[in-house]
Amino acid sequence: MPMNRALPVFLTALLGSAICPLVAAPGVPPKPAAAVDKGGGELDLTKFPGQVIDEVVVPVPSEIFSVLDKLGDPDWKAEVSASPKPTFRERSDVALLLGATVADGFIAVQAEDKKAVEDVGRNVLSLSRSLGVEDDVVRHCQAIDDAASAAKWDLVRMELDATQTTVRAKMRQMQDGALAECISVGGWLRGTQVITAVIGKSFSAERAELLYQPDLADYFNDALEEMLVKAKNPAKLKEIADGLARVRELMDNGGGDINAAAVAEMNAVTSALVKKITVKP
């Protein structure tokens, strides 16, 4: 299940022009930097003369929807989820569902569907209660409700981002970082499902490029692996991890652009995974 991290080459040009001036501080000699070109033309992070934070920064959902705003005006109403949310006991299940529900909120915002946004606010509060973080989230849910009533969609997006950030921060504070990543995984899968649906209906290479997120897929897969060890029901997480690995392969598409067939399969895979997350077996 672990993904290949293909970062083979740290270019001489980079070391000469970009990095060396950074280390040439007064009294601090530049660090030696060996460049090994393995032919891939990409940076070899193991050769970076400094500290590399290995985990990729996960974007907030509104960054992705900000791009979608610029790609025309698809039928978002068709993508709004109206299905009732199940009740789970397992915390990883709740965290995955919370992430998917926050993503539902972004989709409802795209569709400018006040009722759907209000439903998301209520569901987020209920799921946060199950995770023991209701007190931290209630102010965001109230703000989501108020902003949706006033059709202040940018504000709703900001509060949805803030909700996810708050819950993730609280999870980490509770020494449960892997659970925090489950929230991101749930949101990312639901977001990818909807974005692939939208792109699939009106395919263009430019739109499909938005889906090229291999390091994020790797990162989420690693997070799921960590959860697999702790989970009472690892089978579900294993299925999600396997599906995620397939999505990762499709993103790379043999080194070529993401084509319509790849988008369609990504949609099929993520739809199946979202169903596992949002429907009780």
Partner: protein, 144 residues
């Protein structure tokens, strides 16, 4: 060292990060946010989460980040130590610098980026002061 926010900074912070910063003030982050005021006025949304730590003078750090073609980004590096030369750059997977604008301020440096393609990029930064000086830093970003 601690500084007080200017009014525009305070407004920008309230708009961008309404709750978290009211509880705990990270002075290096405040410097980064002060550098972000113009970007906020220009419609950039500043992400609430930020990254911070301490670096030895001259050492570099790299953060990997997914960027999306079509979005515009500003990255803000701040420190609350004076007389520090800050440098921040954004590189693509092949190591080419992609920033289209750089701003240097007394306690902050910022770069603007238009991602040429969707994918992973590397934010590389360093802070240069006295030899062996340990320098606090904070890195934040905004997008539109």
């Amino acid at each position: 060292m601690r500084r007080f926010f200017t009014l525009p900074t305070a407004v920008a912070l309230l708009l961008a990060t309404p709750l978290q910063l009211l509880a705990v003030v990270d002075d290096s982050h405040s410097m980064a946010m002060e550098a972000a005021v113009d970007a906020v006025k220009a419609g950039f949304k500043i992400r609430q989460e930020y990254w911070s730590g301490i670096l030895k003078s001259g050492e570099q750090k790299m953060v990997k980040q997914q960027l999306f073609k079509g979005n515009e980004y500003w990255f803000f590096l701040g420190t609350d130590e004076d007389k520090i030369a800050l440098k921040v750059e954004v590189l693509d997977r092949k190591g080419a610098k992609i920033q289209v604008e750089t701003q240097l301020k007394p306690n902050a440096a910022a770069v603007r980026v238009l991602a040429p393609a969707t994918g992973t990029y590397y934010i590389v930064f360093s802070l240069n002061g006295k030899e062996n000086e340990k320098i606090p830093w904070a890195l934040a970003y905004g997008y539109r």
